[in-house]
């Protein structure tokens, strides 16, 4: 039984990959493929949040910061690629005579951009995580701090309109590393890259969760002091998970840009960062598939329910959130475990903290 379980998860990832990479391009229209690509980007971020929050207990409320690092690195490269040897149009508009800001210059290079998408979030989250976890900052303080950073970055971008495009954001990308973005075949390629990266991230956390590191991470979440007494440094354990989640957020942000075609501070600020968390909580933060599926469900709800019922959609999301927190604290992915438990004992006891913790163990696979 226990030996079989990992292979069930791996099979699940296989089925998921088949649906995303094989079935979806055949049955969905270009518009919905593009939307699905966007949900995949949020799902990549969500997988990282699942790792940091679900397994590591760090409530990362400011993933928008790392999302922004990847997204703006990519957007700057695509803007320069579109502009060619000219200065991007929006900069001419605000200050016709000033040159290209110096920090844009390296993003002309495709290699530098790809490197920046990977290294920037690792460096920033590494320094930030080291400073915070070594000082044993945790719980609400950590959450508030990370959220404040997202707000600060969004405000900074809004107020530097000539350097970053400000509130209007960066848009109108024509090329993606030499490929014409308007071509439907290339759009599909970009989607497949995003979906493929999501599958890779799922495989990575699947491997992490079943490794000794995964055990240590959960132990740190549930009893940090005990882990310390056993001779481990919880700060290092948390740092690794935090850096990995930042990296995933950055990758999600980088793919968001060619798929959606525009990036603005509103996509990285407080509200956006909370929405990223909402999907994870909805799906089940500690499970393997919960975060990704939850984020995709929230994205889908925004596109389709937001269309038919613009005023009502946010209320539905809020209500769903309350219901899940009240009755299914471990998300929708804990439902099967709930049913199984209910079948075993017809009258389940009211969920105690211990029972909830046991359930959390149950959804880990």
């Amino acid at each position: 039984m226990t030996k079989l379980k990992p292979w069930i998860s791996l099979g699940g990832i296989g089925v998921f990959a088949f649906l995303l990479l094989g079935v979806a391009p055949l049955v969905l229209t270009d518009h919905w493929i593009n939307n699905l690509g966007k949900y995949c980007c949020w799902a990549i971020v969500a997988v990282g949040i699942g790792l940091a929050w679900g397994r590591g207990g760090m409530l990362v409320m400011g993933q928008g910061v790392f999302f922004a690092l990847g997204a703006y690195a990519m957007a700057m490269h695509l803007t320069l690629e579109t502009a060619g040897d000219r200065i991007p149009g929006f900069m001419v508009l605000y200050d016709p005579l000033a040159p290209l800001p110096a920090f844009w210059e390296p993003f002309r290079s495709a290699g530098f951009t790809l490197l920046a998408i990977v290294l920037l979030p690792v460096i920033v989250s590494g320094i930030l995580g080291y400073a915070l976890f070594k000082r044993r900052v945790k719980g609400a303080y950590f959450a508030i701090l990370s959220q404040a950073l997202a707000v600060a970055l969004a405000t900074l971008i809004s107020s530097t309109i000539r350097q970053t495009g400000g509130d209007t954001g960066l848009s109108d990308f024509k090329y993606f590393f030499g490929f014409v973005l308007n071509d439907p075949a290339n759009k599909l390629l970009v989607y497949l890259i995003a979906a493929g990266l999501l599958v890779v991230c799922l495989l990575a956390v699947w491997q992490l969760y079943r490794s000794r590191f995964g055990e240590l991470l959960v132990a740190t979440r549930d009893a940090e002091e005990r882990v310390r007494f056993l001779g481990y440094d919880p700060a290092n354990v948390k740092l690794v998970a935090f850096v990995a989640s930042a990296l995933m957020a950055s990758i999600g942000g980088a793919m968001f840009v060619p798929i959606v075609g525009i990036i603005t501070p509103a996509e990285i600020g407080a509200a956006a960062s909370i929405l990223m968390i909402a999907g994870v909580a909805l799906g089940g933060r500690a499970s393997l598939f919960g975060p990704a599926l939850g984020a995709m469900a929230v994205g889908w709800g925004q596109s389709s329910l937001g269309s038919t019922w613009p005023d009502g959609w946010t209320y539905i999301l809020g209500l769903l959130f309350i219901v899940v927190i009240l009755f299914l604290p471990n998300g929708l992915s804990s439902l099967p475990a709930r049913f199984a438990a209910a079948r075993r004992s017809p009258a389940p006891p009211p969920p105690t903290p211990a029972a909830a913790a046991a359930e959390l163990e149950g959804v880990r696979s």
């Binding site: 502009a83 200050d95 030499g178 071509d183 497949l192 495989l203 525009i262 990036i263 596109s303």
Partner: protein
């Protein structure tokens, strides 16, 4: 050990599969520099269905979020115009069936919904938007799918697109008349206050160039983000700079905070009047403070005496969800739908290329509430009269200045020698 190597093999296989798929696809996509890549030639053929007795149009405005308060009015007046046109027999005999989408004050959402309207709902044209940011998000999408977008709000100019029609004022129809008015008032010291986004930044860049020509000194320039309401420290700078006049390009509810800080600092309409380009009949009563005596530059005012204005005001007052007053952006939105009707009927077709060809005649006109407007087929803007109004105690505007004739649209300011030619060229190239 064997499980590890198996796992590795699985991972390698998956990676190889992904790479293969990517390479196969890369083979069929267009690369930069291909002949097909230059224009919109890769756009799929239009899916608009013109066989039935109705035609689908898309309306796109923010019904939620910060801009909803302004944009709902535009959305409602579009519904009213559609009802009127349907009552009169529709467009080319087809009734308008509109699909309303919510842009949610989020620019990527505007892009997504435009794509949905054009490719999923197969609408013949999209109407709406308000902020320049939303228009800039929509622009690449309509260009990619060779769709049509009708944008109804005054904006900063320096833009044109074969797929967008602009029924609000460009800078030479609103900003430049306002500056001409200030020059006739003998203004020497001008302060610029604006929200921090595309429109105010660009408008002020143009104002500074023209002020130099007119001999008006710009004594200060301050910006506050769209969603921030605290203007206290910026107004302190205005007090210190002692301007004769304030040029206000603040948009939305941030105006309320500005007006409050302005009066709190002891400024008033007699000593330091404000000329605004985004406070109209709708906004004036919502300022939370009496704003009598201040000015606004628009093309349309509810107080205009034209043959068609009384009917427009009357219909609007009777319309459900009406605010009771008419304003420039609503009137421009009203024009946009009628202009589309005139274009389609001149073209005899809903086809985008045929509609654009019909526009080239420069003979498409509409008897609008602001007067008879004519469409410029090359830049897709319309001729407009320039007006300056002064707010009276009823929050209506007394017309204190009018341009001597309709002003032809000139988005790139080609007819103005003070606008540097090299900057114009850079902008056209960048838009290219």
């Amino acid at each position: 050990m064997s499980t590890t190597s198996k796992r590795l093999r699985t991972l390698t296989a998956l990676g190889a599969l992904g790479t293969t798929v990517a390479l196969v696809l890369a083979g069929c996509g267009a690369r930069a520099g291909d002949s097909a890549s230059a224009g919109g030639t890769s756009a799929a053929p239009s899916c608009v269905d013109t066989s039935g007795d109705s035609i689908k149009l898309g309306f796109l405005n923010s019904l939620t979020g910060g801009m909803a308060i302004s944009e709902k009015t535009v959305s409602n007046v579009l519904h009213m115009a559609a009802d009127e046109i349907n009552a009169g027999g529709g467009i080319l005999g087809k009734k308008i069936a509109y699909i309303q989408e919510d842009g949610a004050t989020d620019w990527p959402t505007f892009a997504e919904k435009t794509e949905k309207l054009l490719t999923q709902d197969c609408v013949a044209a999209v109407f709406g938007g308000w902020t320049s940011s939303s228009r800039k998000a929509v622009k690449p999408v309509v260009e990619k799918h060779n769709g049509l977008f009708f944008y109804p709000v005054q904006y900063e100019g320096l833009e044109s697109s074969p797929n967008i029609y602009y029924t609000g004022a460009t800078t030479n129809q609103q900003i430049i008349p306002a500056m001409d008015f200030l020059a006739t008032k003998g203004v020497k010291r001008l302060f610029l206050a604006g929200s921090d986004y595309v429109f105010p930044r660009t408008a002020n860049a143009i104002i500074k160039l023209y002020a130099a020509k007119l001999g008006i000194q710009i004594v200060g320039e301050e910006y506050v983000p769209l969603d921030k309401d605290d203007w206290t420290s910026q107004v302190a700078k205005i007090v210190a700079a002692k301007p004769d006049f304030i040029f206000n390009t603040i948009n939305g509810s941030s105006n309320v905070g500005f007006i409050k800080a302005y009066y709190d600092a002891g400024l008033n309409a007699r000593t330091t009047p404000i000329i605004s380009v985004s406070i109209a009949e709708e906004e004036a009563p919502a300022m939370g403070h009496e704003v009598t005596g201040h000015y606004a530059s628009w093309n349309y005012f509810q107080s205009l005496k034209t043959p068609t204005n009384p009917k427009f005001i009357e219909s609007w007052k009777k319309y459900p969800n009406s605010s009771g007053v008419t304003s420039d952006p609503m009137e421009a939105a009203y024009i946009s739908l009628y202009l589309y009707k005139a274009l389609v009927e001149a073209a005899g077709s809903f086809d985008v290329d045929k509609v654009n060809a019909a526009a080239k005649s420069n003979a498409i006109t509409f008897d609008a509430p602001e007067g008879k407007v004519t469409l410029d087929g090359d830049n897709h803007h319309i001729s407009k009269p320039g007006h300056i109004g002064q707010i009276n105690p009823n929050n209506q505007f007394d017309i204190v200045w009018a341009s001597d004739k309709f002003i032809e649209p000139d988005p790139y300011l080609e007819g103005y020698d003070w606008f540097p030619a090299d900057i114009r060229k850079q902008l056209v190239d960048a838009a290219g």
